[in-house]
């Protein structure tokens, strides 16, 4: 299909340490993005389901403001916008914050779905046992809602792993950035693109497969 192109994998072999470094940065961005996104997302979901009108309104506004624009907009907003106020976040920090804020909106909606799927009697039972509302949430509602939300979380987390490639726009030295530099240095375009695609495919299918395994274990224990 690619006429006149002779594959030469030597350049890729030489660049393996660089690829490893890039991969490590990508994994860091993804893990931090997932962790903070989950934290913010759960908080937003709680405020979304709150009986306080003001709180639930704020949660809804957060979700709509975040969901209706690309994550790249938030990255640029933080990286190019905050310097107007004398704040100069690093590219890495901007990337992590933007991915967390963006995906928190999705995780909030997912977790809200998980919360709503927990039967109301669970809450009533917990309260009748004398649990405080905090205890009810943390020991009764949260674990069940989290379990319900796990399959959808897994999809979102795969999206985050893929979105780490966008942080190359801020010159975060993650996998995609490293590879596009290597391509312009060595001109071994298709070798590097092939390896890049393979690494991402492995990452995303390992994450999805791992999550499926966790889901099956949890279901089994119940």
């Amino acid at each position: 299909m690619i006429e006149g192109y002779i594959f030469n994998w030597g350049a890729v072999r030489q660049a393996l340490p660089l690829l490893g470094e890039g991969l490590w940065v990508s994994v860091q961005v993804a893990v931090l993005g997932i962790a903070f996104g989950l934290l913010i997302g759960v908080l937003v979901a709680i405020s979304r389901t709150s009986s306080n009108r003001l709180l639930s309104r704020c949660g809804l506004i957060y979700v709509e403001v975040m969901r209706n624009s690309p994550s790249l907009v938030k990255m640029y907003f933080i990286y190019f916008g905050l310097p107007s106020f004398g704040l100069f976040p690093s590219a890495f920090l901007s990337a992590v914050v933007a991915l967390s804020l963006h995906n928190a909106a999705y995780m909030a909606e997912i977790f809200r779905g998980g919360l709503q799927a927990v039967s109301h009697t669970q809450q009533e039972a917990a309260i009748s046992l004398g649990m405080s509302s905090w205890q009810t949430f943390w020991y009764v509602l949260f674990p069940q809602a989290f379990r319900n939300a796990l399959p959808a979380f897994s999809n979102n987390w795969v999206e985050i792993v893929k979105d780490t490639s966008l942080t190359s726009a801020l010159a975060v030295k993650e996998l995609f950035y490293v590879v596009s530099n290597l391509i312009s240095e060595t001109m071994r375009t298709f070798e590097f693109l092939g390896v890049l695609a393979l690494i991402y495919l492995l990452l995303t299918s390992m994450l999805a497969g791992g999550m499926r395994f966790v889901e099956s274990r949890i279901k089994y224990r119940r």
Binding site: I2, E64, N68, P70, Y76, F80, G81, D163, S165, T204
Partner: protein, 221 residues
């Protein structure tokens, strides 16, 4: 002051038009190919299923940016030198078609098999029972996730800025480099994207409510 805001906004609006053109073409091509592909894979045999299944596995497992890059490098090697705009449309249309195909297939498979059997029992052919009986029912549950996917695709066009197509994000970056007004420019871009995507999101939610009131279940994307 208002004068300078206009001078910021004008290049962005020019970029917005490119974004809307890109998104419009991609949504159209993606929907047509996606529906055809979805019907084919629901009707077709095991080979077609494996073929489409592996396409979707690859398209979903690799970042869109990487896919777009691969298309950008691959097409010239295959003897096709096209403008960045057209290449971007091709790359994003492949992604759009594959993801929409999966939604359509899910919708078709959610229609109880008894419907097809009943249609064939009264003398419809396989194609007729699909077109007359199954597809109209499937469409109902397909619509909400389809619109969610539309919103996703509109947002995904922002990736194309990294390949030098002068859509809204690239215009924004150029204006920022010229004026250093990062906050103002990015706020405008944020608002412009929201102006396109929010009505679509609301439409999706409205449809979902209407359909669930009529007893249809939206397919999970």
């Amino acid at each position: 002051m208002t004068d300078s805001y206009w001078s910021l906004l004008l290049p962005l609006l020019r970029g917005l038009i490119v974004t809307i053109e890109l998104a419009g073409i991609i949504l159209l091509v993606g929907t047509v190919c996606g529906v055809v592909g979805g019907v084919l894979s629901a009707l077709g045999g095991i080979t077609l299923r494996i073929l489409f299944g592996s396409i979707i596995f690859v398209v979903r497992g690799i970042p869109l940016l990487v896919q777009v890059f691969i298309v950008f490098y691959l097409l010239p090697f295959m003897g096709l030198t096209l403008s960045a705009f057209v290449t971007a449309i091709i790359a994003l249309s492949v992604f759009a078609s594959a993801t929409i195909m999966e939604i359509v297939r899910g919708g078709i498979e959610a229609v109880p098999h008894g419907q097809t059997e009943a249609a064939m029992a009264v003398g419809f052919s396989r194609g007729q029972s699909m077109y007359v009986v199954v597809l109209p029912q499937a469409m109902m549950s397909i619509l909400p996730p389809l619109i969610t996917q539309f919103v996703f695709l509109v947002k995904a066009t922002s990736i194309i800025s990294l390949l030098g197509v002068p859509e809204i994000m690239l215009s924004g970056r150029e204006v920022i480099e010229r004026t250093l007004l990062g906050f103002e420019v990015m706020t405008m871009i944020w608002l412009l994207y929201t102006a396109i995507c929010y009505p679509l999101t609301m439409l999706g939610r409205h449809l979902e409510a209407v359909l669930s009131a009529r007893g249809f279940q939206a397919v999970k994307n």
